[in-house]
Structures are given as structure tokens and as C-alpha cells.
């Protein structure tokens, strides 16, 4: 029953790893700090949920075991978050697509029948609300900005749009967990998330592409090759020096 929580936790963890690669490289100091701060919050969500997953599965695994000692096929993150950082437009679009999902998910998750999960969600909901306003602000600024920034945003949306739907597709695991009250059904979040996305895209003068075939499979463990390289970076020290401490 911890599988649906692992899907959320892994999406947070993998996105964090992507965001931290911007540290020291963002286009402006303020945004460098912003991306690192967002990553810190999202890492907090991942750690709390991974710890809970470990408790629920009862096999003695802790957050570090789950983060560092699983291979790509055991990760349950949505494909969106493992996509490369690209240029700043790609990072902004990926972040906004993630934030529209998470800012809708966390408030719903505060009614989880699992009290620990509800507690994690209560904190995360406030933080995600701040994140989505920030990333939405960038979508508007760049989309409704210069010719160059507009063109780059169009390209980023085109590249990432096929990954924008997976978070809202239900499978049997989701249905069972939703019936038990552990997590909301992914499809139940789609309307509110879409509403926010339409508002921001309209203000950003960015057209919303037609519905594609949504790329999927990450939440079931089938990933793009990007995840393997990301995990190699993230896990190498822990695996090369088992049990090492600072």
C-alpha cells in the first residue's frame, strides 16, 4: 500500500536532483537562490514521504536506502521530472507543470487516512502554493516577454507537453489506494490543475497544445534513459562508500 506514496516521493526526489544542478548556474543570483530554496522544500517532502514508505513497508528500509539503493526500474516518479534541465525556459516549464500538480495534490492529501501523510501534506501545501506562484510568474514573464524568450518558451512547451498528463492518469494501484482513502485519485486533480494552467498560459500569451498521447510508465517503473544517468550522479558516492558519514 506504500506504492502510491512512493510515486509522489520519487517525483519530488528526482526533481530535486534536477534543480540542484542549477546551483551556481542560474541566469540571476536571485533565481539561483530561488531554485535552491524550492529544491530544499521539495527534498523535504521527498524525505518525509520516503521515511513513511519505509515504515509502512516494514522491511527496515530508511529514506537513504530508498533514495540511494534502488535502480531506475524501482523508481516510481513521473517521466516529467527526469527530463533534462535544458535551457532556463525548459526548467521553468517543467517546474510549472510539476507545481500545478503538486499545489493541487497536497491540499487534497491533507485528508489522507494516514495521519503522518496528512501532516506532511499540511506543511507541503503551503510551500507548494508559494512555488506555483513563483514558477507561474516566470512562465508569464518569459512567455509574454521578448521574441526570443517567447520562442524559447514555445519550444519548451512543445518538448515537455507530452509528459504533462501522466500525473493525472489512474491505474489499479491508484484506484485501490484512493478507495482506502490514502491518496486522492490522480484524475480527480486534473480539473483544478488545468484551470490554473489555462489562466497562466493565457496571461503568458502561450497557446495550450492539443492533447497528445500522454507519455507514461514512469509511475510503474518504466523510464526514459535520462533517469539512469541522473541516478548514477545522485547515488555514486553513497554506493562507493557504504555507510560513510560526514
Amino acid at each position: 500500500m506504500s506504492e502510491p506514496l512512493l510515486r509522489i516521493a520519487d517525483s519530488c526526489l528526482v526533481l530535486t536532483q534536477r534543480l540542484t544542478a542549477w546551483c551556481g548556474h542560474a541566469p540571476a543570483l536571485e533565481e539561483d537562490i530561488a531554485l535552491a530554496n524550492v529544491a530544499l522544500d521539495v527534498l523535504g517532502h521527498a524525505r518525509a514521504l520516503l521515511t513513511r514508505v519505509g515504515e509502512l513497508e516494514g522491511a527496515g528500509r530508511e529514506e537513504d536506502d530508498l533514495a540511494y539503493l534502488r535502480d531506475a526500474g524501482e523508481f516510481r516518479n513521473q517521466l516529467l521530472v527526469e527530463q533534462p534541465n535544458g535551457d532556463f525556459a525548459h526548467t521553468v516549464v517543467r517546474q510549472f507543470l510539476f507545481d500545478t500538480w503538486s499545489a493541487t495534490l497536497w491540499p487534497a492529501l491533507t485528508s489522507s487516512t494516514d495521519e503522518v501523510v496528512a501532516g506532511i501534506a499540511g506543511k507541503a501545501a503551503k510551500e507548494a502554493a508559494y512555488h506555483v506562484r513563483h514558477s507561474g510568474g516566470w512562465v508569464i514573464r518569459l512567455g509574454d516577454g521578448t521574441q526570443e524568450s517567447h520562442a524559447r518558451m514555445l519550444a519548451a512547451v512543445e518538448d515537455l507537453w507530452p509528459y504533462a498528463g501522466e500525473a493525472y492518469l489512474d491505474d489499479a494501484v491508484d484506484v485501490e489506494a484512493a478507495e482506502a482513502g490514502l491518496v486522492p485519485l490522480p484524475s480527480s486533480l486534473a480539473g483544478a490543475a488545468r484551470f490554473r494552467l489555462e489562466q497562466v498560459f493565457a496571461e503568458a500569451t502561450l497557446p495550450i497544445p492539443p492533447e497528445p498521447y500522454w507519455q507514461r510508465g514512469g509511475r510503474q517503473g518504466q523510464h526514459t534513459e535520462h533517469l539512469t544517468y541522473l541516478l548514477a550522479d545522485m547515488q555514486v558516492v553513497h554506493r562507493a562508500h557504504p555507510g560513510a558519514t560526514w
Partner: protein, 156 residues
């Protein structure tokens, strides 16, 4: 060996990132129970990713160990921390060190509020420079009168 003594010791434990205020001023220390010489302190993080939690836990344990033989520190997430728990004394201490204390929290949480006044000159003509500041709990603002930038503890 009383609850009051434990609170007095906690009031001397500074926040690692805002050392002018204590963990009591910030509302991080939530509860104290004392039974048979054993003290149990409950703390809560300000933000989910707060990197200072381990240090706060260690500092709390060290401070209480000076007077209590048996100290336990528990971390809880619910109810979620809010800037409404920062005490009036804590707000004064923040302002005195040039950090604008949080404004009123808006419901629903559509804004993080804004500083009431510049902590340096008291002017109210202010602008936000960056939504994220030197720690997770702060944003960077600037006074348009004295032109000084300052940290603002976001209403949260």
C-alpha cells in the same frame, strides 16, 4: 525539575539561522512535558526542508541536559508551523536586527503578506526584490526611501 524550568532553558536556545531569536520566540518549541525527572520536548520545523532541524534538536538536548538527566526531543509536523506562532517579543527582536517580521497571514494563502515597514528607517514605501531569500523562511525586500535592502520573514 519543572516545566517552567524547561521553558526557561529553551528560551535561551537560539535559532541557528536567526540567532537573535530563540526556538521559543519562533514557535519551533511546541510542547514540554516533565515526568519523573524525564523531560520530553516537542519541536516542529518551520519549512519541510529546513536544514537546521538536526542542529536545533542537538541544541535543545544540550541545553536541557544541563538540568535534566533524561531528555527526549520529538519532532512533529502537524499542526503545520505558521508565522502566527512567532511571539510579539520575537517579532520585536527580529525588527531590532534589521529583519522585517511577518505581516498578517492571508486566508486563503494567496499572498505571503508584506512587511509593515522598513526595519531600518520605518518607511512604508517598499518593494520585493526576490521571492526567495537567504533562508527558506525569508524573502528579500528593499526600502524605496532609505534604499536599504532587508530580509523579510514571509507570512506563512
Amino acid at each position: 525539575m519543572t516545566v517552567e524550568l524547561a521553558w526557561e532553558l529553551l528560551a535561551e536556545v537560539p535559532d541557528p539561522e536567526l540567532p537573535t531569536v530563540s526556538v521559543v520566540d519562533l514557535g519551533i518549541a511546541r510542547d514540554v512535558q516533565v515526568r519523573d525527572g524525564r523531560v520530553v520536548v516537542t519541536i516542529t520545523p518551520t519549512y519541510s526542508g529546513c536544514p537546521a532541524m538536526q542542529e536545533i534538536e542537538d541544541d535543545v538536548r544540550a541545553a536541557l541536559s544541563t538540568r535534566f538527566a533524561d531528555v527526549e526531543v520529538q519532532t512533529v509536523l502537524a499542526p503545520p508551523w505558521t508565522t502566527d506562532w512567532i511571539t510579539p517579543a520575537g517579532r520585536d527582536k527580529l525588527a531590532a536586527t534589521g529583519i522585517a517580521p511577518p505581516g498578517a497571514r492571508m486566508l486563503p494563502l494567496l499572498t505571503e503578506g508584506q512587511p509593515a515597514a522598513c526595519p531600518h528607517c520605518g518607511a512604508q514605501d517598499l518593494e520585493e526584490l526576490a521571492a526567495f531569500g537567504s533562508t527558506a523562511c525569508k524573502a528579500l525586500w528593499r526600502c524605496l526611501v532609505c534604499r536599504e535592502p532587508f530580509d523579510y520573514v514571509k507570512a506563512h
